[in-house]
């Protein structure tokens, strides 16, 4: 079975995949079509309740909420992917430095990572926002840095473990250079741990976008973004409670999807959850059922 089939077989994974597909598809569709121009205001029709033609209603300046939510998924995708990429680069770099280099280097990197972890994401965000003004980049970089450090922390021991595994040694015995070994054996085997972390990082990024937008460090106030929309509409919560529901639901739905995707990936890639790991020493005999799920 491919990893995807295994993922699809778990109910969490399936839900996660569906959510991600829905969000990405919405983002793509919104590039070409939304019911209304998401930026177009129509003050005469402000605070319309859900009805035709504004299926989800309108906001304080009469913008169509459905169009805004659709267009906002673009921002969400950009934030999630951007934060994901930065977290990946930082995570891999720090994990590699912390696992593959000389011992003094490994240990200093580990200490450095521990210090960085002590800086909450938000504080990184505030600093970046103060320098460059509120923008998506603030969210992307701060979550990317913050979670990259987390990923490094989780991936490093995993990398060490794989590094000490017999098949890496066997690779050396077969004549592989360290670089070849890294590429052929180490990275593919660390990838699962990594991907799981990544999907959680993306979930955090989506949530962080909402939190940072509320504090004014997030996306530009006029860009279609769920976080901005939520921050914007929450001011009128007691008067127009229905409108604030939509961005909240969109965020919760996406975050739930990404979290469950991460859980599903973990279930479907972690060998400890399907069969017991072989003891590293001793003469424990292993048995393998004919069909492995």
């Amino acid at each position: 079975m491919t990893w995807f089939a295994r993922l699809w077989a778990t109910s969490t994974g399936r839900f996660g995949v569906i959510v991600v597909v829905v969000v990405v598809a919405t983002a793509i569709v919104s590039l070409f079509w939304t019911p209304f121009d998401p930026g177009a205001t129509d003050v005469a029709n402000r605070w319309a309740l859900p009805s035709w033609p504004h299926l989800l209603g309108t906001d304080a300046t009469g913008r169509d909420l459905l169009s805004l939510i659709m267009a906002g998924s673009r921002t969400t995708v950009v934030v999630a992917v951007g934060a994901g990429i930065i977290a990946t680069v930082i995570g891999v770099a720090l994990a590699a430095l912390g696992a593959l280099t000389a011992r003094w280097m490994r240990e200093s990197v580990a200490v450095f990572v521990d210090i960085l972890i002590a800086f909450p994401v938000l504080i990184i965000a505030m600093m970046i926002a103060a320098v460059f003004g509120g923008s998506l980049w603030v969210v992307i970089w701060s979550v990317g840095i913050g979670f990259g450090v987390n990923i490094a922390r989780v991936t490093r021991p995993e990398l060490r473990r794989v590094l000490q595994s017999d098949f890496v040694l066997a690779g050396r015995a077969s004549g592989l250079t360290p670089a070849q070994n890294l590429w052929r054996h180490l990275l593919p085997n660390v990838a699962p741990v990594f991907i799981v972390q990544l999907s959680w990082a993306m979930a955090v990024a989506v949530l962080a976008e909402a939190g940072l937008s509320y504090l004014g460090f997030g996306a530009p106030v006029t860009s279609p973004s769920w976080g901005v929309l939520l921050a914007d509409l929450q001011q009128y919560l007691t008067v127009h409670p229905l409108s604030v529901l939509w961005p909240g639901l969109a965020i919760a739905f996406t975050v739930l999807g990404l979290n469950l995707l991460g859980d599903g990936l973990r279930e479907s890639t972690d060998p400890t959850l399907s069969r017991r790991r072989s003891p590293s020493a001793g003469r424990a005999r292993q048995h393998q059922p004919e069909v492995v799920s």
Partner: protein
């Protein structure tokens, strides 16, 4: 609107021991009235704690304060004030003429103090008994007005009070505590020289979040909510314990355009932007305020209706842009982040309709000060200029407005030098018309204050309360 304070609708007798909780939006950085800029300080400290020789009413009339009366020589060069007797500072020390001379002189001579430039025309300050005499180098029709503000505040000579966190004034209230990030508390000054304040205690609660303020009001934790978002009107009125009051104000939301270079140096582009913006929609979306088409708002002298200069007309705007050869114009608006999202949303949409892509960069106020105000590194900027009678900025070519028209500068100088109020006003309105015709900027609207006042509260001023709130009459009845 227009009255100094809202009449109380409650018949119940005022409670002399009342504590009134007033929500304000922006907290001052510190309490140093000498040099810390920002309306947040004047708003509560001037009149209530600190006083000048003269003061002003919410509708901009100049009235006696520490001076019981004053005279101006016919040539407009000598101002003579009679200082009241029996005035004491909060620390118990009596106010002396030396304090007055020292305060004004130090203000004039200390660059770091705010508004020191406003006393630039004053040549000498002298005291003789209770008579304080100011002689001027040239007539200055704004001097009295200036003395009602920071420039005229009277402090105790060589006071050692920690100005940053405490105050020592002569007003009807004593500042008793400042809990940073939360509230400032005033207590009635029982040794006040004039009519004593009505409430025993006023608490200024700083709550930036509108919804939190509304919740606080609904939960009975606040008696007055200023800076109320008119969009939340329904909620507060449904509650029945509050009434919404509208007050006039001199807040001008100025869409400044950097006309030194780039596409905005072209007057047609600036006009196109003005005509593309639907000012009525902005007012409607904001829920309060009045449209404004020139640099002087209605409460200030020199106001006239300039709505014909650049009326809303997207088609005309498109044509102007085409004439100017601007296709696919993309502009960046730099604005402090605390003005909310409604206005930028409308601007983006309106400009988009005529083919201008607007990017909005909302930043910390300090970043705005550095980039826009100091370095003039911007294309469009949006700031609320709350100060009354601040036309001088259009006559200052170095100001961040980047507007430089000698004719306007002359007219303004002329108005300052005028010894008759009518002349001064006429000069101002003429200058304002030129500024608007030059498309020096766009004035989105004249903000009005919206105040939610509990039905058992009386004496809450509603006009111009962004500039100052005289709380002497403010009080609450029991129940």
């Amino acid at each position: 609107t227009g009255g100094g304070s809202s009449p109380s609708s409650s018949k119940a007798a005022a409670d002399p021991n009342a504590t009134v909780n007033v929500r304000l939006v922006l907290e001052p950085g510190n309490l140093d009235i000498r040099q810390t800029a920002g309306a947040a300080l004047d708003q509560i400290l001037v009149d209530n704690v600190y006083q000048g020789l003269v003061s002003r009413t919410p509708d901009e009339k100049i009235v006696p304060a520490l001076a019981s009366d004053w005279t101006v020589s016919p040539d407009g060069l000598t101002y003579t004030f009679t200082l009241r007797e029996g005035v004491t500072f909060d620390d118990g020390q009596a106010l002396t003429p030396e304090d007055v001379v020292w305060s004004l002189q130090t203000r004039k001579d200390t660059a770091a103090w705010s508004d020191s430039g406003r006393l630039a025309n004053v040549a000498t300050i002298a005291a003789e008994g209770q008579k304080i005499t100011l002689t001027l180098t040239k007539p200055d029709s704004s001097l009295l007005w200036n003395l009602t503000g920071r420039a005229g505040i009277i402090l105790k000579k060589d006071d050692t009070v920690d100005y940053k966190t405490k105050a020592n004034g002569t007003g009807p209230f004593v500042l008793t505590s400042w809990k940073q990030g939360d509230s400032i508390t005033f207590q009635r000054n029982d040794k006040y020289w004039g009519t004593k304040a009505k409430a025993k205690e006023i608490v200024w609660d700083y709550i930036p979040d509108n919804q939190a303020a509304l919740n606080g009001a609904l939960a009975g934790e606040l008696d007055v909510v200023t800076g109320f978002d008119a969009n939340l009107k329904k909620q507060v009125e449904a509650n029945g314990d509050f009434a919404l009051k509208l007050g006039s104000a001199t807040d001008k939301f100025v869409l400044a355009m950097n006309q030194k270079s780039g596409p905005l140096a072209d007057k047609r582009v600036r006009q196109a932007i003005r005509q593309a913006i639907d000012h009525d929609a902005i007012v409607k979306a904001n829920g309060s305020g009045v449209p404004l088409y020139g640099p002087i708002p209605k409460p200030d002298p020199g106001y006239e209706d300039l709505s014909k200069v650049a009326p809303y007309n997207p088609d005309a705007a498109k044509k102007l842009l085409a004439d100017a050869g601007q296709k696919n114009l993309s502009l960046t608006l730099t604005m402090p982040s605390f003005y909310g999202t409604t206005i930028p949303q409308l601007l983006v949409s309106d400009l988009n309709k005529v083919g201008i892509t607007l990017k909005v960069n909302s930043v910390d106020f300090s970043t705005w000060l550095q980039d826009v105000y100091t370095n003039q590194d911007y294309q469009l900027s949006l700031v609320d200029h709350a100060e009354a009678r601040d036309f001088e900025n259009w006559a200052n070519p170095d100001y961040y407005f980047t507007y430089d028209n000698p004719q306007v500068q002359n007219l303004y100088a002329q108005s300052l030098a005028a010894t008759s109020e009518t002349d001064a006003t006429n000069d101002l309105s003429q200058a304002a018309r030129i500024v608007s015709n030059d498309m020096a900027a766009d004035w989105l609207f004249n903000w009005n204050s919206v105040v939610a006042v509990a039905t058992n509260v009386s004496g809450m001023p509603v006009d111009n309360i962004n500039a100052r709130i005289n709380a002497a009459q403010l009080t609450k009845s029991k129940g």
